[in-house]
């Protein structure tokens, strides 16, 4: 049956949509494309999109998979490794998948267990083994990152269209500031507001500054950002380091720690860099020995496969 289906759909790339820990906003943003939704389903062969259909094929090879959400349990990690194995191209969508999301805002402080206990008490969960939120690319190779909280539908269309035709995707590398200038907004930094526009990835059409509100950094760090200069500027405006770091970490979490730890004065970020050996393998080894082979080194596996 599967073969027949693939014969009739031969020309269309097979696509899967998956969600991990987050608010489901990136997949919902796709469902919010009422006018284009049927076109999407016509242009590609959607094999899995739980939010839209109960018809799911989760054992097939995929041309492209889109993943939203960060990784926070052992089950998710297994599932991620499986999706990577089955996908030619893997795209992380949304700030949670790309940077760990707001739930990774304290990544690297090493107090996750304490905080977990604070929320859930001493109850032993039987459903899954949870751990601190990490972005997808800390576990498997990610081919493209589409940031946003949530993603912008036009960037998504652009990426889907290009990828479906076998082309590569290049998203904006400039910060929100550029879009803000194009929209001819008055600069909020000049008005002494703590705006993250200069260091946040563009693509949202400078939504907040266009509404007279400072950028909160929800698209994560911009490739071309001059973070050092932004921090200096904000300090000149009498914002404390603490305030600045708090804002930068809220949505840029893991990526901010990774890229700008020195500038941000963050020291205890060791666990963020290597969560895999300790935190993640343990539960799997302790669980099913059989599954170990398939999940132990998702990264290495997918690489070998590509060759």
């Amino acid at each position: 049956m599967g073969m027949m289906a693939s014969k009739t759909q031969a020309a269309k790339p097979k696509v899967g949509f998956y969600g991990f820990t987050g608010c489901a906003g990136d997949l919902l943003a796709i469902l919010h494309c009422e006018n284009e939704l049927l076109d999407i389903f016509n242009a590609v062969d959607v094999r899995s999109f739980l939010m839209a259909s109960s018809e799911v094929h989760d054992d097939e090879e995929l041309d492209i998979s889109f993943l939203e959400g960060s990784i926070t349990t052992d089950h998710q990690l297994e599932s991620l490794a499986d999706i990577r194995k089955r996908s030619k191209i893997l795209v992380a969508i949304g700030s949670c998948a790309c940077f760990g999301g707001p739930q990774a805002a304290r990544l690297g402080y090493g107090d996750w267990k304490e905080r977990f206990k604070k929320v859930y008490g001493a109850v032993k969960h039987t459903v899954a083994k949870p751990f601190e939120s990490h972005p997808v690319d800390e576990y498997v190779k990610v081919d493209y990152h589409i940031p946003g909280c949530p993603i912008d539908r036009y960037q998504f269309f652009f990426a889907l269209t290009r990828l479906a035709q076998g082309m590569s995707v290049e998203l904006t590398t400039f910060p929100v500031c550029s879009e803000c200038k194009w929209n001819e907004n008055e600069c909020l930094l000049l008005n002494a507001q703590l705006c993250l526009g200069p260091v946040t990835a563009g693509g949202c059409d400078s939504r907040c500054p266009s509404h007279n509100l400072p950028c909160i950094g929800c698209w994560g760090p911009a490739a071309e950002a001059n973070v050092a200069s932004e921090i200096d500027l904000l300090k000149e405006r009498n914002f404390s380091s603490e305030e600045i770091v708090s804002k930068l970490r809220l949505f840029g979490g893991a990526a901010m720690v990774r890229r700008f730890a020195d500038l941000l004065g963050i020291k205890a970020e060791e666990p963020a860099r290597k969560p895999r050996p300790k935190k993640v393998r343990e539960p799997i080894v302790a669980g099913k020995a059989k599954k170990r082979a398939s999940t132990k080194k998702p990264k290495a596996k997918s690489r070998t496969k590509k060759r």
């Binding site: 049927l38 259909s53 349990t73 007279n212 929800c218």
Partner: protein, 430 residues
């Protein structure tokens, strides 16, 4: 062959991963659990030590579908804590954005997630060839809700325009008028959902009496924001006494906490609102309510779908009324600054799927304590109870064909946030 276990592996997603497990022992139903495996986010602890505005941006991201309800609840709680009184135009704008969310969320659930169940399709896309006009009507209503959120909140998901003390920017008169006329023109489309559901036979295999709870707006008006909470046993509480209503606890099979009222499960959502306040509905929605309402509504969660369909009509009638009032306020008020940097505040608003509570404590300008109780976390016990009754009745009668689907339909009727998902349920063999 007798059943040992019914396992619905993943009630897929929206607010995360959940499933249903029904266990039998010696042919008797022994245990029913709604398992929530959603990954933990610990956002309440992420909020600690942050300034109030950051926390509002953070907590609205708990959910993409109820994002504006979260934001509304957060803003009201923060403003109580910081002693901010917002001008009438701000309150009207918030009520308008809230209409947008109700319309979007209900249209999505009624037309795209619940109807395919009743009509026997895996999705609305599959339903489209046979029911094209209905699917298109549903999409038009949903699209309007999305656009109304974009207009008022700057974005349909995690819009940042509503802030503590007001709005960054207000829509123009002509924009408001255009939305008013469009809302009015969409009422017949929304009524289509009511008509279809009204003419379908509602299954009864899960029926069981329930306790209902919702916010009670002032002046005998129908609405979704209030400081009083009404319970179907006649009791009333202040929203800041939400602890007396919700009694949260943690269970091992769920990452979502559970609530009970006086040690019993309860129902929150459109059905609760209609059972408690339905008499207050006016206009076209009021007519539909009076035509559809019957005594099964107090026992059968499936009627939540009908209640949502009618509430969508009400929201499309309410939005133009709010716009008319908004147009009488010409000046765009500046954002109101807080009068102090410490305090505590709780607020309740009705999210599309039930009462949502936010509570914050602030000291020296920083949030030191956060407590958020979502509708889905409140009604999980009630949902589990209805699924138990359904599983028992169906297996007692030997009616086990498609039993997974029948159980999923009960879960779906609740429109749980883990469920917008629900369509999406993957069933593993018995």
């Amino acid at each position: 062959m007798s059943l040992n276990r019914i396992k619905i592996e993943s009630l897929a997603r929206v607010e995360g991963h959940g499933g249903i497990t029904v266990d039998f022992k010696d042919g008797e139903l022994s245990k029913v659990t709604v398992d929530i495996h959603e990954g933990p986010r610990l956002l309440e602890t992420i909020a600690q030590g942050r300034v109030p505005s950051e926390v509002v941006s953070l907590t609205c991201r708990i959910c993409a579908i109820c994002t504006l309800s979260h934001r509304y609840a957060a803003l009201r709680a923060m403003e109580k804590a910081l002693e901010i009184e917002v001008p009438p135009k701000v309150r009207l704008m918030r009520d308008l954005m809230h209409c947008g969310e109700m319309i979007e969320s209900h249209a999505l659930h009624v037309f795209l997630l619940a109807l395919p169940d009743y009509l026997g399709y895996p999705s609305a896309v599959h339903m489209a060839p046979e029911y094209l006009e209905d699917v298109q009507a549903g999409l038009r209503v949903k699209r309007f809700g999305v656009r109304l959120m974009e207009l008022t909140a700057a974005r349909s998901i995690h819009g940042e325009n509503p802030v503590i003390g007001g709005f960054g920017r207000y829509p123009s008169k002509s924009e408001l008028l255009r939305f008013k006329y469009e809302a009015e023109s969409l009422i017949p489309d929304a009524e289509r959902g009511v008509e279809i559901l009204r003419n379908l036979r509602q299954p009864t295999y899960m029926e069981e009496g329930m306790t209902f709870m919702c916010t009670k707006p002032e002046h005998d008006r129908y609405g979704w924001v209030a400081d009083r909470i009404l319970v179907s046993n006649g009791q009333e509480f202040n929203a800041w006494d939400y602890h007396k209503l919700t009694n949260e606890r943690v269970v091992p099979h769920s990452m979502a906490k559970r609530s009970r009222f006086q040690d019993k499960p309860y129902f929150v959502g459109a059905l609760a609102r209609f059972n408690l306040l339905g008499e207050r509905l006016d206009g076209v929605a009021g007519e539909h309510f009076r035509r559809c309402y019957n005594l099964s509504w107090i026992r059968n969660p499936m009627y939540n779908n009908v209640a949502q369909a009618i509430e969508t009509v009400w929201a499309l009638e309410e939005a133009p009324r709010i716009i008319d009032k908004l147009l009488t306020h010409e000046e765009d008020p500046a954002i109101v600054a807080p009068s102090r940097d410490k305090g505590a505040g709780s607020a309740a608003v009705e999210a599309p799927r039930g009462t949502l509570y936010h509570h914050y404590e602030i000291a020296e300008g920083r949030v030191v304590h956060t407590d958020i109780i979502t509708p889905t976390a409140q009604f999980l016990d009630m949902m589990e109870s209805h699924i138990r009754v359904a599983a028992k009745n169906l297996t007692d009668e030997g009616d086990t064909d498609n039993i997974e689907l029948k159980l999923e339909m009960v879960a779906r009727a609740y429109d749980p946030c883990i469920s917008c998902a629900t369509h999406l349920v993957k069933v593993r063999g018995l």
